[in-house]
Symmetry: C2
Subunit: 191 residues, 2 copies
């Protein structure tokens, strides 16, 4: 558990605001106010607004990777692993909504360097999904004509959830996960 110091409060406030309004529409004054200080004081804790964005993406990438990667090591079949990966992925979306949104949106408002680094982190994470698809194909359980296209199809569907899911809605995050698992497995089922 991370110590809840002022710096964490600043990064947390920025994540919420970037997720809600976007990078450009969020001002350093918004972030400072949400963190309970004045905008000038922000720069005792951070270097630039863009660094703040990058830190959020890095933490979110870590959240997703730490939730999903261990599942790949479990002694289970590809379909069971995929099911648990989907549940873990949606668990992060549900539990860290603002962070996940900043991470999953390819924000076009940032410097080239920052976007390249954010993309690198997303690609790294996507490899975990390629891996489970390959396992399923090798085991003869999944039918995958084009791995990249299939992975894009599945992850687009999963990541779209962050744009409509709201806690307290008709379906719980777990219920959504369970239904999406079934839909994804139908895409892949070899029989």
């Amino acid at each position: 558990m991370a110590r809840k110091n002022r710096r964490d409060a600043i990064v947390e406030a920025a994540a919420e605001l970037f997720a809600a309004k976007g990078f450009r529409a969020t001002t350093v004054r918004d972030i400072a106010e949400e963190a309970g200080i004045l905008s000038g004081s922000l720069y005792a804790h951070i270097a630039t607004k863009e660094d703040l964005y990058l830190e959020i993406v890095q933490r979110a990438a870590q959240d997703f990777t730490r939730a999903v990667e261990p599942v790949l090591q479990e002694p289970a079949g590809p379909a069971a692993k995929l099911r648990r990966m989907i549940r873990a992925h949606l668990g992060v979306i549900d539990g860290s909504r603002a962070w996940a949104r900043v991470y999953l949106d390819d924000d076009s408002e940032l410097s080239q360097d920052t976007r390249v680094e954010a993309r690198r982190l997303r690609r790294e994470y996507e490899r975990l999904w390629d891996a489970v698809l390959e396992e399923g194909v090798a085991a003869g359980e999944f039918r995958v004509e084009d791995e990249t296209l299939t992975r894009l199809f599945i992850l687009s569907a999963l990541n779209g959830i962050i744009r409509w899911y709201r806690p307290g809605g008709r379906l719980s995050a777990e219920a959504v996960a369970e239904r999406y698992v079934q839909l994804v497995l139908r895409v892949l089922k070899a029989d």
Copy 2:
């Protein structure tokens, strides 16, 4: 075919820039420069920057609707209709990329009124997809446990294409469409 006057040039320039950099990061000076005039002159043609955004969304919504709606009236089975709808949808994404991107992205940087209207237009379009799902269920050809969830799953996958597809890449838009048709039909196939 619309007359290619200066106003169209302005709206076209704005669409390209909003798609590439986002609404906030695009300045009225950027738009004016791209259209070959000075920023002050822009306001002889438009009322506000936000009106420009709304007009782009409206035209794009019309593009999608006009491409997809007629398919629903064709005398064909649900699977054949769905196939043609997917091809039409990806045809618009491929042919009007900037416009499609502005339309499909739920931009959180705008006023409440504009976002509400953009959402209304998207919802209207989504009904066409609900309609084909219902036809397929009624005909016993599609298996759909939860219509809304299934439609969200499919449209999220299809709309994700705009974030990675580039003309001249490994697969043509038609090839992507054909493969996505197969993946979507697997999600739905009742047998």
